[in-house]
């Protein structure tokens, strides 16, 4: 019973902080399951993908209701992300788990640096109404967007994250989509993208329902709570603290990649 509740609590924390900091839960679920519960990194990625689907469905619904997400553009780019996710899902089972852990550590470090950069840049941007004004010449570089979608799909399937880390900058910087619309459209695409690779993880036995159930439940509850309280919390200090946490977790994932990892909190018995 304790392990079930710990998994739910861990998932809840991942969902809560992922939602508060705009990171998505995936980036926190994988380290939690590998470093905290001793899961093989591929099993952690498989479970993380299921958590990502659940949270992306909820947030995509809000964005669609507000007509911020671009369904047609998302559908077009999904051709790339789904292709990438299938390729990534197949590649993931051919790679050594230590390499995946190493890639994950690199992504954590990149995310930490991005958070620092956004902070010095004056915040997230794009949340104000002005971000909704569409440039006249867009969408630019549609082909480039599809290619970025393929990369985003591969990253998502390999590391158990939504792929927004690639998709949002591609839509915003490359295609000229306003930041808020890029975030909303990325959220919409994530569900379909992740589903494509999750099929592969589930069918190959990389998802344990007894671990996934409590974790996904916790993630959904945490993410829902986070979306409700985010406007009441000063995120500046939290963001800075989280940069430190991400760097520590990145170091631990890197240690795992180099086979230097210590004893996890709980292990398979």
């Amino acid at each position: 019973m304790e392990v079930t509740l710990l998994l739910a609590a861990g998932g809840g924390a991942a969902g809560l902080f992922g939602s508060l900091l705009g990171l998505g839960g995936g980036i926190l679920i994988v380290p939690m399951l590998t470093l905290g519960f001793g899961l093989d990194v591929r099993h952690a990625v498989g479970i993380s993908l299921l958590g990502v689907v659940a949270t992306s469905s909820a947030s995509a619904a809000v964005y669609l209701q507000r007509h911020v997400a671009r369904l047609r553009l998302g559908s077009l780019l999904e051709l790339g992300t789904v292709g990438g996710a299938i390729a990534g899902g197949l590649i993931a089972f051919a790679l050594d788990g230590r390499l995946i852990a190493g890639l994950f550590a690199a992504m954590l470090l990149y995310t930490a640096l991005s958070m620092l950069w956004r902070r010095s840049d004056g915040g997230d941007g794009g949340e104000d109404g002005s971000a909704e004004v569409l440039p006249e010449t867009w969408p630019r570089h549609l082909g480039g967007g599809v290619v970025a979608g393929v990369v985003g799909g591969i990253v998502s399937a390999l590391l158990g994250v939504g792929g927004g880390v690639v998709l949002v900058p591609a839509m915003h910087l490359l295609m000229g989509l306003p930041m808020r619309a890029a975030t909303a459209t990325s959220n919409l695409m994530i569900g379909v993208t992740v589903t494509a690779s999750a099929f592969l993880y589930v069918s190959r036995g990389a998802v344990d329902a007894f671990v996934a159930g409590p974790t996904v439940l916790g993630v959904v509850v945490g993410a829902t709570l986070g979306s409700r309280v985010s406007h009441r919390i000063d995120l500046r200090v939290l963001r800075l603290l989280f940069v430190v946490v991400l760097c520590i977790v990145a170091a631990q994932m890197a240690a795992r990649a180099l086979d230097l990892h210590g004893i996890p909190l709980l292990t398979r018995g």
Partner: protein, 132 residues
């Protein structure tokens, strides 16, 4: 082409069909997520009641043929798997409904793109089932 590009942006030229589709898909996603979470919640509650321990080695694999029997017997794994599969099926259903709406509205480009996405998802499902 101009219509399609405007639709891609979802800007000023967004059609009533597109706005109605947004609302319909939003309801579908919320509904699917609620059903999924409720099923998973029941599964977790049954896990706690039955004293099921996670992190067993090896991890139990999905067995679709056993799913109805597991549900009928109120075994936690049946509810957990069904909830997780509903979660995965929801974005897939979103693509199918978008396709059906575009096709019914004679929006050929929209129908073609969403059909291709649905086809890609079916390919991933076929690969998953074929390479177990």
């Amino acid at each position: 082409m101009a219509d399609w590009q405007a639709g891609l942006g979802g800007g000023p030229a967004r059609t009533e069909l597109g706005l109605a589709l947004d609302r319909r898909l939003a309801r579908l996603l919320v509904g699917g997520m609620i059903v999924s979470v409720v099923l998973i919640g029941v599964g977790v509650a049954l896990m706690l009641v039955a004293g099921e321990v996670p992190l067993r080695n090896p991890a139990p694999r999905i067995d679709l043929a056993r799913l109805p029997a597991d549900l009928a017997a109120l075994r936690p794994e049946g509810f957990l798997w069904l909830g997780l599969l509903v979660g995965l099926g929801t974005p897939f259903a979103r693509v199918l409904i978008a396709f059906a709406t575009y096709a019914a509205g004679r929006d050929r480009r929209g129908a073609l793109v969403t059909a291709a996405v649905a086809g890609s998802l079916l390919l991933s499902l076929a690969l998953a089932l074929g390479t177990r």
